[in-house]
Symmetry: C2
Subunit: 619 residues, 2 copies
């Protein structure tokens, strides 16, 4: 294809709002333009690469037997009401009404549409498993879209949904998806960090995120220096930094009996005056000790709690309701105490997940006073009966601790877990930090920020149950199938390729997603140079490669700059002097130096190199 | 691909709301399901064919140098306000607001988005011509969606937009598009009727519609039995059925001078009593004459008239306004008289187009009385000065006619055009009917109903002007480019293929858009039959064809019915008896009878036949 016939408006200047490399380069290289905040148009060069990413995803989905379908982008609101997400999804769901006043959503994801289709056709276990996917437009009404297509409002996502008779079948598809995702990113030339939702130590995982490292990533990742442990900080766990007797060391919670035994030499707990002490630091100074000897207790307010609280302390009068007809029963509001060792922090996401709550946050001072009968700063697990107490595993190993006494200016000392207090729940609710130790190998953990490119997820029967999907099993009994969902953002994957493959001068495309494989730059597109350039372009095209021929009447410097900026992997320069000797210059975009080769060997050389790279990416 | 691994929910029963073959068969053959009224999901088999249509369109667009881009589906309302269509488009435009209260539209077409992109990048004539296209989701908020994807709310359209420095360049692209469209439909196996907007007699056309015949078509087409004249009734013209002296016969309007001369022997016009006469039929009976001797005059109300009326009779006090900031000036309301020979009918679409009016309709009785000073039924062109009079060409040849006298129960006779009255405008505003004669060859015209699959259109500078697009010409002078737009509905094209290619038993796919080329039906998928079926499938796949292997444990009758219903072009049946003699049955879906051929010749035979068909479609 001739450069002059394409539409590649490259820019010298950097768009003012472009703070990351991919955003900057997609604009500068003429791949992308902005229609309005968060809405972008791919120009011809950008869309060529976009379609290549799309196609790699399609091939890998087809290879594992997923079937491509095309529901609509605008989906009936009724379906979202059935699943309950019409009310629960939040404001990033773009809801709209048509002229007949019917409700619709612009799909941000498509569990409802797929499940509605499957529901109408599914009758027998013989139809299962079934995996369907689409590569289609999505919309998320971001308040503050930024970083170009990395966080736009409209984007394209491959989303797949699988339906199964049992967990084993779901797991099989889930594992196949995990492998397909690894191949997709490998083929795009991306280094991804697969992050399991649960700690590896817990065994089988129900969710895995595929992250790329990014300075502007939304996700904080906890990684191990010594093994491949990787987790989102929201769910990361770490090794306990205290020893427990066997067999308890494995899950690092002390049993009540062992805890009592461990406290055998601890004096009975007693109340002490701690006047004017407001923080743990104050308390440390006052008692001349360290934070790790304190039990820190915080009061949380949780909203839309799905967990059954009928047996929880202080919760007998709480009532459950449904936010919408088909949504599950929830407690609109509930309060909890959470206790952790004083040198550690509570992870609110872990806490919310434990409670199956919509949101969890520290409650206001008035509620703290009402619930603990004391000002802020004196909460503690001993004698706290108004609300359920959740304590972190770390507290189970504390047999001589300081903690609030539920009275102003008073603390307890010599408090021991098991002997002086227990809890409603004891779980891992700790925020893992850099320097903590890996739960798998004991290695040092460190932190990276990452962007999520893909996500695979076992949904169980959340949607199939709320949307009444059933099939008859081998015994003719009606059953609800289990479901998985699997997404990859196409735009974000493309932008991430540029993030990982660029330099000062521009993009450096991997061959698999490059808009063209080769750019031919005639120094002056005329005479013998033109003839050779045309012939070479035609031969390379016949060999199955995409060739961009820079036929513009521009200075060589301009052409070289545009070639570097647009990042076409191989550049062939044809000049008058060289061609007189039947020689051309070739150079990979990565390389600093070019080399002269015989014109009649150029096709073989380029074809070999590009095939090698494509094969390498596919391995 | 094995049938059991696909998701092909065929149906015996016909969906209740499916009145046309494509709707019925897309559901029955498991290609399509409904999400809600006007919103459909393509299932795997349907989407395979859908992508083939899409790809044929893409190849033909690329072949003429159009460049594919991808703007968003949700487009900023601002752009539509700039073009004026935010206000003018009507209720089928789905307008919406996001959480920040910004206006958006779900694109029904994309002149604005494309023009906004081009505007920002266009600087020099050297960048022109430029043709960009997308194949992307569109939405039209139909009040009464029906006929399946033939008239759905969400659909996929290929829409291209071209930008040019001059009309000659626009015409070149327009012609290339016309040829590309013919190839697209040919390759899909469709018989289209290209319909020029203007009559061929008028020379170069600014718009061409590609129609398929359809019982449920929205369009009434006027076709010639003897030549390839084809026009939408809204714009069709026909030969005059009266003789005029040279050179006037060519455009069939009599000059005033010649009209006066032709009335030389007509007595002076005179008022006659016509008591109790209400209709033309009454008048005919009363005067013992025929409708073709009357001048029928009707009073119309037109809204949003763009045509300059400053010099028109009775319009000097009309004021112009802008419905929105960037829209053109219009007269909100204006009244007109339209006169035509009594045996003919006025075409309101032609009239509206003449006046550049948003809408034209017969006005109410009160307005007729106010404007003609007479009750309904006595309007006529003589003495009518309150409003502009538009007369049809046919009236110019009338030199002894009867017409209303603008008084109750009175008519004129011996009225002659040119001598007794003229008009503000004389044009073709006649509705062409079956039996009229072709303006090109004199052949008999007949009527078909058709559905529009594609449309190519010269837009001029409508959008480039309102959206302020300019470039510098060779002399450094700022110019506004001219523009063309070109659309094809992908869903509608696919459905039309089925309309044209089906029988009682199901679809009969052309090879180019078939979801699979070959279906292999083993009578029982086991033993030697299975081995042969697998081997044949693998060889045909290697040869580059798509093979569906019916591996289901179903009765042969069920398999044959599904094969017929889904319409795969070639069927290969493998049974135990045949395979013992190394023979298989092959049959094209079109044929009634199958034939036995040697197993080892099956691949060659099928490959040859399919290649031949594909080549034929491409010719």
């Amino acid at each position: 294809m001739n450069y002059s016939q394409l539409f590649i408006p490259t820019l010298r200047e950097i768009p003012a709002d472009a703070v990351i490399a991919s955003h900057r380069l997609m604009f500068r290289a003429g791949l992308l333009r902005k229609l309005s905040n968060g809405l972008f148009a791919y120009l011809p060069l950008g869309f060529r690469s976009f379609k290549k990413v799309e196609n790699i995803i399609r091939e890998e989905m087809d290879a594992i037997g997923a079937l491509e379908i095309k529901p609509t982008v605008i989906v009936p609101g009724e379906l979202w009401k059935e699943s309950g997400r019409w009310d629960l999804f939040g404001d990033s769901l773009l809801r709209l009404k048509n002229r007949l006043n019917n409700d619709f959503v612009v799909s941000p994801t498509a569990e409802e549409a797929f499940t509605a289709i499957v529901r109408d056709e599914l009758s027998s276990y013989r139809q299962l498993p079934l995996t369907l996917y689409q590569i289609n437009t999505k919309f998320r009404d971001e308040i503050r879209p930024r970083y170009g297509v990395m966080r736009g409002r409209e984007f394209v996502m491959k989303d797949a949904y699988s339906y199964h008779a049992d967990e084993a079948s779901l797991d099989e598809t889930y594992q196949a998806m995990g492998r397909a995702y690894r191949r997709i990113f490998k083929r795009c030339g991306l280094t991804v960090i697969p992050v399991k939702a649960d700690s590896g130590a817990m065994g089988g995982s129900g969710s895995e995120e595929f992250m790329v490292e990014s300075e502007i990533g939304d996700n904080t990742l906890i990684l191990c220096k010594d093994c491949d442990y990787a987790a989102n900080v929201e769910k990361a766990s770490c090794a306990a930094d205290y020893a427990l007797p066997e067999p308890e060391s494995a899950d690092s919670i002390m049993s009540i009996e062992n805890a009592k035994a461990a406290a055998a030499n601890t004096p009975p707990y007693e109340k002490i005056d701690t006047p004017d002490v407001k923080t743990i630091d104050d308390l440390c100074a006052f008692l001349k000790t360290e934070p790790k000897n304190f039990i820190k207790t915080l009061i949380y307010r949780a909203v839309n709690v799905e967990l059954d609280l009928s047996g929880a302390p202080g919760c007998s009068k709480l009532e459950r309701s449904k936010p919408s007809k088909d949504a599950p029963f929830v407690y609109t509001e509930a309060f909890f105490a959470a206790a952790i060792r004083g040198d550690l922090d509570i992870n609110e996401v872990k806490l919310a997940s434990l409670l199956k709550a919509g949101e969890v946050s520290l409650t206001c001072d008035a509620d703290v006073i009402r619930l603990t009968n004391a000002p802020v700063g004196f909460a503690g697990p001993i004698g706290l009966t108004e609300i359920p107490v959740i304590i972190d595993k770390s507290v189970s190993a504390m047999n001589d601790a300081v903690t609030g006494a539920l009275e102003k200016d008073l603390h307890y000392r010599h408090a021991a877990y098991g002997r002086d207090f227990t809890s409603w729940m004891i779980e891992d609710i700790r925020t893992v930090k850099a320097g903590d130790r890996c739960s798998l190998c004991g290695g040092e953990l460190y932190i990276k920020t990452g962007n999520e490119l893909g996500h695979i997820f076992k949904l169980g029967n959340k949607y199939t149950r709320s949307m009444n999907v059933t099939y008859l099993d081998e015994n003719g009994k009606s059953q609800i199938p289990v479901m998985g969902c699997y997404g990859v953002g196409v735009d974000r994957t493309l932008a991430s390729v540029i993030e990982e493959h660029h330099d000062e001068a521009g993009i450096i495309w991997p061959a698999s997603v490059a808009p063209f494989h080769i750019i031919i730059v005639p120094i002056k597109y005329a005479g013998e140079v033109k003839n050779s350039a045309d012939k070479l372009a035609s031969e390379l095209t016949k060999a199955g490669f995409e060739v961009l021929l820079d036929d513009r009447d521009e200075r060589p410097g301009v052409k070289f700059n545009d070639a570097d900026l647009t990042g076409i992997p191989w550049r062939v320069v044809i000049g008058e002097k060289g061609i007189a000797q039947k020689k051309v210059e070739i150079k990979h975009r990565r390389d600093k130096e070019n080399r002269m080769i015989d014109l009649n060997k150029a096709v073989i050389e380029l074809v070999k190199n590009i095939r090698d790279e494509l094969d390498q990416l596919k391995k």
